[in-house]
């Protein structure tokens, strides 16, 4: 018998609120509308924190993990359905889901295990380039291509395992920074992989159905082909989310947390530190690779300039901004980092300045990120079993 009998309605309410917000955020274009929306969000978040709604929502979410996933998934699907004809909004939404997937991978690496990865975009890029090469030269079915792309990203990541296992903290950070820069420079000079001009990637085909075609609904208008990609990206992100949540709640998650908190203590308790570090690093990179593969097919064209060190830093920003170690925080943070600069197009050359100032302000006044990770709730979990 559960001791705390918390209802799941806060989860539903927050999901509906989030969906409406995302919908408006993607749909609105005028600068004053966006300004009103931003002010509204800040007010809503502030009151949520101030009056304890946020705590209630999070508590409810941890009580009802399955309901949370289902409700949020349905809410995301609803957003896609409502936006069905809006190509650009759907492209942004799909991109957000893909970034969420990569950042969930980073959450396993950094949020749980404490391995900082400053080469996230490189593994995303490995997935994308693997896809480009495989689709151009072989007839491997596309779903398989995505899986192979993820595995290749994990495999290439293993080059870094030795230096990563031997180093810690900032020293480990340098290893991934060096790899991230090396990767981009390598792509630019390597003629085999298209050099700076990049490679074209065909659209995704699943069981003979091409995702690059718009779907006509007869008199009801047509559905953008980006809607299909948004659904694929959503499925990927949802899968990654379930994986991460399961990991967190399992004994593996406990091991990873122990390693992050104190490696030496973890080792003295008999935790096989290298093994779990390799596990976390590889799984994270695979997730980045999957996302990269879908991204390549969706955008149809990849070039080294898309996989800058700066983009890796953006990924890390998403994780930190969301609240390191909390997979739920990744979504709002990804929305902010991916879509906001796009919405700021209206101020053209001033947009990055404003973006930087906004992030500084958020961090200054909410240094733990938007949704900081909660302590494990041992008693709540035990009470249910």
């Amino acid at each position: 018998m559960p001791i705390t009998n918390r209802s799941y309605w806060p989860v539903v309410a927050s999901a509906v609120f989030a969906a409406v917000f995302v919908l408006l955020f993607l749909y609105l274009e005028e600068q004053w509308e966006i300004a009103v929306l931003a002010v509204g969000l800040v007010a809503a978040l502030y009151s949520a924190v101030r009056f304890g709604f946020l705590g209630r929502i999070e508590a409810a979410a941890s009580d009802h993990p399955r309901t949370t996933i289902v409700v949020n998934f349905v809410a995301a699907l609803a957003v896609i359905v409502l936006l069905r004809g809006e190509h650009f909004a759907l492209l942004m939404l799909a991109t957000v889901f893909l970034y969420v997937t990569v950042c969930l991978g980073l959450t396993i690496q950094f949020g749980y295990t404490g391995i900082v990865n400053f080469a996230g975009i490189a593994f995303f890029g490995i997935g994308a380039y693997t896809t480009a090469v495989l689709t151009a030269h072989t007839g491997v079915p596309h779903l398989l291509v995505i899986i192979i792309a993820g595995l290749v990203a994990g495999l290439i990541g293993s080059v870094l395992i030795l230096p990563l296992l031997r180093t810690r903290g900032h020293y480990a950070a340098l290893v991934t920074i060096a790899f991230g820069i090396l990767f981009r420079t390598f792509l630019e000079v390597s003629d085999v992989l298209g050099g700076p001009q990049g490679l074209k990637v065909p659209g995704m085909q699943i069981l003979g159905w091409s995702l690059n075609d718009n779907i006509s609904l007869g008199p009801l208008g047509s559905v953008s082909f980006y809607a299909s990609y948004a659904v694929v990206a959503l499925l990927l992100a949802a899968g990654a989310y379930i994986l991460v949540k399961r990991l967190e709640r399992s004994w593996i998650g406990l091991n990873l947390d122990a390693i992050r908190t104190d490696e030496t203590a973890a080792a003295s308790f008999g935790i096989d530190v290298p093994r779990w570090k390799i596990f976390a690093f590889t799984v994270g990179n695979c997730l980045a690779g999957f996302a990269g593969a879908v991204y390549a097919m969706m955008s149809g064209f990849i070039a080294p300039a898309s996989f800058n060190f700066g983009d890796s830093l953006l990924l890390v920003s998403i994780v930190l901004l969301g609240g390191s170690g909390n997979p739920l925080g990744v979504l709002p943070a990804a929305l902010l980092v991916v879509v906001l600069p796009e919405k700021l197009q209206i101020i053209q050359e001033y947009r990055f300045l404003l973006f930087a100032v906004l992030v500084i302000l958020i961090l200054r006044f909410r240094p733990e990120g938007l949704l900081p990770r909660k302590m494990r709730e041992y008693f709540a979990a035990w009470s249910r079993s």
């Binding site: 190509h87 650009f88 630019e188 050099g195 700076p196 074209k200 149809g300 800058n308 050359e349 001033y350």
Partner: protein
């Protein structure tokens, strides 16, 4: 500094006005895409201002059938962002056509998007041949020339001047690599010799190691394929190592930024650009003076005139056939000998402007001067090593 605020405020104001104006003329939207932030943003801003100028002049004209509005977007010179904004523009049914892209890599990534959505665009700065010749898309046009003709003329000209050996330094973007490919091909075919080729990254600061190698090879000419910021660094470090070779650039350095960045060191640098010099053309003089009058914060740069011409081509087409993407596209495809500030424009079956006039430039006393009118051509001054 103050001027930037003024630009910003005017822009915001204009957007506001455009949003709620109850003019009796129908409002037609035209997009502009270019790099407004990042390393080559000077060119992007110059292009945006020039396109904006074309729109403002048209709106000031009372005989105009429509009221035009420019939607300017930033592609950051990155293909992934380029695809995003291209989708945004192409999916917006209110936008009839676009003046798009300075960076070749971005244009390569976005042509498919324009084709898919049927948005007619006119490229105003990207020079990679494949953008128009690599596909059969009727939507894609280009007012500026490609790097092929530019380099053929460059090779001919330099060999005529009696130079025999080249060291090529190019950035590893497709712009630099493409220039290296075509120039090397032409110069070797015509009997010149390339003694060394150096690919460098575009954001590299220090070229001493590469240049010391160049010094060892002792070429007559250093050919540089890349954009102004890298060119400035290369030229000034060349001087410090005491390399006394001619510096020959490409269209990417034909900008005021290059001269401003180098000061007196810029003297005697050669470069080649498609199209006649703006001030020599009918309407060119007025373009420059109108640009001055509008009090933009930034200079038009080398490709501003092309953006202006591209915007005007689109406006003329819309005035003629109305704001319909398909009709505008057909009208643009039929462009023959259309007058513009960069000379008469004729699109071939790939939408490429075929006017193959290449102007040769040399920097003399802090200005880009057409070679034939320079004191170097008349023999009054001499290039290094000749």
């Amino acid at each position: 500094m103050k001027r930037h605020y003024v630009t910003l405020i005017t822009l915001l104001f204009m957007l506001g006005v455009a949003g709620c104006a109850s003019d009796d003329k129908e409002t037609v939207k035209v997009a502009f895409i270019g790099p407004l932030t990042g390393g080559v943003s000077a060119n992007g801003l110059g292009g945006r201002n020039s396109a904006e100028l074309a729109i403002r002049l048209q709106n000031a004209d009372s005989s105009s059938k429509y009221k035009y509005e420019l939607v300017a977007l930033d592609d950051e010179c990155k293909p992934n962002i380029g695809v995003q904004v291209a989708t945004k523009v192409a999916a917006d049914k209110h936008i009839v056509a676009g003046v798009t892209h300075y960076c070749s890599a971005v244009a390569m990534g976005t042509v498919d998007v324009y084709h898919k959505f049927g948005l007619p665009v006119v490229v105003w700065g990207a020079v990679l041949p494949d953008i128009t010749y690599g596909n059969d898309y009727a939507e894609v046009h280009r007012v500026n020339g490609t790097m092929i003709n530019q380099n053929e003329v460059a090779a001919d000209f330099m060999l005529q001047q009696g130079y025999k050996t080249w060291a090529v330094v190019h950035d590893t973007t497709d712009y630099g690599k493409g220039h290296n490919r075509y120039f090397s091909k032409f110069v070797i075919d015509k009997g010149g010799r390339i003694v060394g080729t150096f690919g460098v990254s575009a954001d590299q600061q220090d070229f001493n190691a590469e240049l010391t190698k160049v010094k060892e090879l002792d070429p007559d000419v250093i050919y540089f394929g890349g954009l102004a910021p890298t060119g400035v660094r290369l030229r000034s470090q060349m001087e410090k190592l005491g390399i006394n070779a001619v510096f020959q650039g490409t269209s990417g350095i034909v900008s005021d930024a290059f001269i401003d960045g180098l000061g007196p060191l810029a003297e005697g640098v050669l470069a080649f650009r498609e199209g006649a010099p703006v001030e020599k053309l009918p309407g060119g003089e007025s373009f420059l003076s109108q640009y001055q009058q509008q009090d933009f914060g930034e200079p038009p740069e080398a490709y501003g005139a092309f953006a202006f011409a591209a915007a005007n081509l689109i406006i003329d087409a819309i005035e003629k056939v109305g704001p319909d993407r398909k009709l505008v596209m057909q009208e643009l495809n039929a462009t023959r000998d259309h007058d513009s500030v960069v000379g008469p424009v004729t699109f071939d079956e790939h939408g490429q402007n075929t006017v193959a006039l290449i102007t040769r430039y040399v920097i003399q006393d802090g200005k880009w001067v057409v070679w034939e009118e320079s004191e170097y051509a008349s023999g009054k001054r001499k290039l290094p090593g000749s």
